[in-house]
Structure formats: C-alpha cells, structure tokens
C-alpha cells in the first residue's frame, strides 16, 4: 500500500484512473419563511465519479475528477416535505492528496458545482444557474486488490456559495454557504 503510484519513475506507472460510487448529502440551498419557515435542500442522492490522478512524488498526488449526483430538490417544513424539482449536480474538480499513512491519504479539492434542473415549472433554477466555485477536504483509505486494482473508501466535504438568478429576481440578496458531504467506494487501476 505504500506509495499509491509505486516507486517507478515512469509517468504511466504513476497515473491511475478511478471510478467511484456513493451517496452525497447537502445542507439547505435556501432558508425562507412564507407564513411558516422552511428550508429547501437536495435529498441525499446517489453519486458516481470518474477521475484520473498521478503522483508528484512519493507523498503527493494530484488528480482531476468529474462526479455527479442526482435526486430531488425538496422543501422541508414542519408539516412534512414536498418535491420541488428533479435536480442533478455536476462537480469538476482538481485535488491534491497527501499520503499520511500507508493506506490513508488526505487532501484538498478546488472545483465547481453545476446545478441542473428542469426550467419549466416554478423553481429556483428556472433561470438556470452559473457554476459555483467550491473548495473541499477529503480523506481516503485504500487497499490493493488483484490485477493491479485498488479499492478505496472516500469521505469528502466541500463548501460553496449558492444563489441563482431566479432567487435574485425574487428579491433575495447575498449567497448561502452550502456544505456537502459524500461517501463513496471506488476502484482504481494504473494506466
């Protein structure tokens, strides 16, 4: 497990592709009060991701990834919850990880969140939304499998500021910090 990319100087030996699947939860995108207080947030949804990463040295590796999660945006109030609109998010990101222990690495991520929702009905994404920059932290545990594959378990936290043109049109000002937490299981292999 020591040295994810081995100790070869060959770039090809140090480069790995990975696929991950898991679940992502998010804090509220909007908190509002009309007659009574409510919050609007994506329900915990499945996520998948693809990535490619390469070692910089024996401790550090850098990677790019694209992950997506999908489900429904829901409105939560005291009496229950109601679906607002199907919602998916796409997250392109660049990560820098450091190997802390032989099988554990931790790192930081910068990237963007792109929300995609149906624009037809009444919803806060009716006028679309711009990509929102994010930063995050993550920790990953890995163990080798057969045929050069590695199994990984990842926990990722990230935060971004959220607003949409429809919210601004409706009189909202400012941006809300949105925190996301995702857990995933993945497999990687060398190129």
């Amino acid at each position: 497990m020591i040295g994810l990319f081995g100790r070869s100087n060959s770039a090809s030996a140090q480069t790995r592709i990975a696929i991950r699947a898991g679940a992502t939860g998010s804090s509220a995108l909007v908190r509002d009060s009309i007659i009574q207080a409510f919050s609007v947030r994506p329900e915990i949804g499945p996520s998948i991701g693809f990535g490619i990463e390469t070692g910089l040295d024996t401790r550090y590796r850098v990677g790019v990834s694209l992950s997506t999660t999908w489900g429904h945006l829901r409105r939560y109030e005291a009496a229950g919850s109601a679906e607002v609109v199907p919602l998916s998010t796409w997250t392109p990101a660049v990560s820098l990880y450091r190997i802390l222990f032989p099988s554990i690495s931790a790192g930081a991520t910068v990237g963007a969140v792109i929300y995609r929702a149906d624009r037809r009905a009444s919803n806060l994404f009716r006028r679309g939304s711009s990509p929102m920059p994010l930063v995050g932290l993550g920790v990953r545990a890995e163990r080798p499998m057969t045929n050069g594959l590695r199994l990984s378990l990842s926990l990722q936290y990230d935060v971004h500021r959220f607003s949409t043109p429809a919210l601004a049109d409706a009189g909202f000002s400012g941006e809300r910090p949105v925190h996301r937490l995702s857990a995933s299981v993945g497999v990687s292999r060398g190129l």
Binding site: I2, D32, P102, R120, A121, V135, D169
Partner: protein
C-alpha cells in the same frame, strides 16, 4: 523474525523519504490557501429573504375561503380554444405566473383535451385580428372573467372557466395586447387570486394596464401558495 522486522522498516523508510523537496511548497502555498478559501466560502454569507408584507387579499368573498392548486394536481391542465393566438397567450400567462413562485408550488400545462381540463379558456367576439404584441399604453379593447361553481362550501363543482371577449373598433395591436394582458390577469384568478388589487401597478388590478406581475403580485401569490386552502378543486373526470 528480527531480520524480517528490519526489512519492513527499511522498506517503510524507502517509501517515505525523510526529505521531500516539494513538501514545503505544498504546505506553504496550498494548505493555508485552502483553509482561507474554506473560511471565505463558509462564512460571511448574509442572505436576506425578500419582504413579502406588501400584499393584497386573495380570499373568495363573501365565503372568505382560500383556494390554491394542491401539489398532487400539478401540472394543472389548461385548455385554450384554438382561436387566434389564444393558446400562445395562455402558455405565456402560465409561464409568467410560474416564474413568481420559487419552490415548485404551481405548474400549469396546455392540454388539447377540453374534457379533462381543470381550466377552460375561451375567446369571445370572433377571430381576433392578427398583430404582434407591442409595448404601447393599455387600451381596454377587451374584457375578461373567471368563474367556477361551488359544489359545496369546500369544493368546486367543475372546471374553472376563463372568458375573454374582445371588442371591435380598436386597432389590431390594441386588441391583441388587451387579449394577452387580460388572459394573464385571468390566469392569476385561476391560480386562486380571487380578489383584485387596489394598485394600478399590479397585474391583478381590476382593470389591468400592466403586462407583468408586480412585486406585490408576486408576494401575494407566494403567500397564497403557502396558506392552507379550505376550498378544493373538483375531481378530474
């Protein structure tokens, strides 16, 4: 056994060299940067929700009941008579009212099945003249009404009916502008805005002269759709 431990230690040291040239660069640049970025993103975000205190009444009088379309009836079905550009004006009206709501409270669609419609929209006065919509002062070249029958104190008897009537003697542009504007106003009634605003700047003013919902229109329909209804629509056939 001792030799084996020695081998392991050597292997470990080889894999984690004590001197990593790049480490100071990452630690001095990346870590503080990311911590600062996290703090900036997570803090200092002050979100202000809109003030929705400036509204007008929407209860059906004199029964004093509230009507809004329940979530399970989304999308609400509108049938528009195929005359002139009426279907286009209805679709346009649904779009502008849906845009006043943020949380999936209302969705309307055009249907060609008049028997299965929740709201029927008809145009009276014959085939209207053809003209593009223009931005011109409002001329009252048409009138409209929205009606429904009560089956009981808490339930409608059937679909709502929106009637728009245009009058001859006006320019084509004034006629089509009026039909479009009044259709938007009547669709506002069909959402449950059963009273008129007293402000001419609002689309739901009794004789509408604006084409777009105002802030007061928006606040009122938002409050309506977060108020518990005590009048329900008729069952679908």
């Amino acid at each position: 056994m001792r030799k084996r431990r020695e081998e392991l230690r050597v292997k470990r040291e080889e894999s984690f060299p004590t001197e990593v040239v790049l480490f100071p660069l990452y630690s001095t640049l990346c870590t503080p940067f990311l911590i600062v970025a996290l703090i900036l993103l997570a803090a200092g975000c002050d979100v202000t929700a809109p003030d929705r205190t400036d509204t007008y009444g929407f209860r059906l009088q004199p029964e004093n009941v509230v009507f809004n379309w329940p979530l399970e009836r989304r999308p609400v079905r509108y049938f528009a008579q195929a005359i002139g550009a009426l279907p286009e004006y209805v679709r346009d009206g649904l779009t502008i009212w849906e845009a006043q709501l943020l949380y999936g409270e209302f969705e309307g669609v055009l249907t060609t099945d008049s028997a299965g419609a929740d709201i029927r929209v008809v145009l009276e006065g014959g085939v209207p003249p053809v003209s593009p919509l223009i931005s011109a002062p409002a001329v009252q070249a048409c009138t409209g009404s929205t009606s429904a029958t009560l089956a009981s104190a808490t339930k409608l008897a059937g679909p709502m009916l929106i009637q728009v009537r245009w009058f001859p003697g006006f320019t084509p542009a004034d006629v089509v502008n009026c039909i479009s504007r009044v259709t938007r106003h009547e669709i506002g009634h069909s959402l449950g805005l059963f009273q008129h605003s007293s402000n001419p700047a609002d689309l739901m003013y009794g004789v509408p002269s604006v084409r777009e919902p105002s802030t007061r229109d928006r606040s009122t329909v938002q409050v309506l759709y977060h108020t518990a209804a005590n009048l329900t629509p008729a069952d679908r056939p």
